[in-house]
Symmetry: C2
Subunit: 201 residues, 2 copies
């Protein structure tokens, strides 16, 4: 299977960490591609019309996306170690995964607004609104920090990749301040080989 990704993408990293935790990362042939919302990459667009990464290309050429679909697919491969939360914990875990993805959606939009869009066209209210989503998501993660304790299942992987992305792209935003539970989780989780193997440069 080919995994089309960019190392800076937190959604791609989430998939890669999940693959490592499931013990199947070695089955992925990594294909690095650069993507931008204002310049379609034809190699990516040929597999995903949205021109986004990550994309998983199966051996028969079938592409799969988005990151949640790929993670669900990898989790069901023969020989994959369990990375999905068990029955009763499924719904809060899926919600936490969605929260981490939503935090990242806001953070990525912030990145586009503050690093890609011409300076004269930036909108302070938009920046405040998206940053408000990021901070409220962090507060919610902190308020339910008990949910971060347990095996390295997808929702915890998603949270860890979201926190790692903030360190990577928003180093000036001290997300640890006032959030000791989330900080302690990330401190420990980021030591896992899966996280070390996938850290953006």
């Amino acid at each position: 299977m080919k995994f089309i990704y960019t190392p800076a993408s937190p959604f791609a990293r989430k998939v890669l960490v999940a693959a490592h935790e499931a013990g199947i990362a070695g089955r992925l042939q990594l294909v690095e591609q650069a993507v931008s919302p204002v310049a379609r990459n034809p190699e990516v667009a040929a597999r995903n019309p949205l021109a986004k990464v990550p994309v998983l290309e199966l051996d028969d050429g079938t592409p799969l996306y988005d990151s949640r679909v790929i993670v669900a697919y990898l989790a069901e491969l023969p020989g994959a170690a369990s990375i999905m939360p068990p029955g009763a914990q499924r719904w809060p875990a899926l919600r936490l995964h969605a929260l981490a993805d939503g935090l990242l959606d806001a953070a990525v939009l912030l990145r586009y607004e503050t690093a890609l869009r011409p300076v004269a066209l930036r909108w302070p209210e938009w920046i405040d609104g998206q940053m408000g989503k990021v901070r409220a998501a962090l507060d919610s993660i902190e308020a339910d920090a008990a949910a971060l304790q347990g095996p390295a299942t997808v929702e915890r992987i998603a949270v860890a990749c979201a926190l790692g992305y903030l360190d990577f792209r928003f180093a000036g935003e001290d997300w640890r301040c006032g959030r000791p539970g989330a900080a302690a989780f990330y401190e420990a989780f980021s030591q896992r080989p899966s996280m070390k193997a996938t850290a953006p440069a």
Copy 2:
């Protein structure tokens, strides 16, 4: 269960259509809320830190989001008619659902850029990039129009709601032109009671 939504949200409509098709829409107490990416709605934010709709509030007060998580939850309720694609069709169906969601992500960002953001701060390259995603997604849906034939499962519901959103917000974009398969699908699907009951005003 309370369903917190706004009628103009295509993601909320997708959930409502799915609930109608599963025969459980009557179990949802509809709670209408207005949302904006630049003004947090406290009623919504109290349930979803991302301050987005839709949110499903279970009878014990537990909130669930985002739309994919809610649809998956509703699909497993006792008495719900099947709205999930069967085994072998699962992966292409999940991909199609993700494609429809990604089309909508781009369309909603376009809406924010062209209707909400101050005129002087709009960025033509961003508009072109997001519109490119919408059009390429439509072309992909057309190229695999055979996948639109079959029961009203979530991926077809998602596509129908995406096409309906384009009619609602982008009437000037003639998405039917050159896409007879998608147009015929929508013409028929939009006659379903589930779609008629949920059409935005």
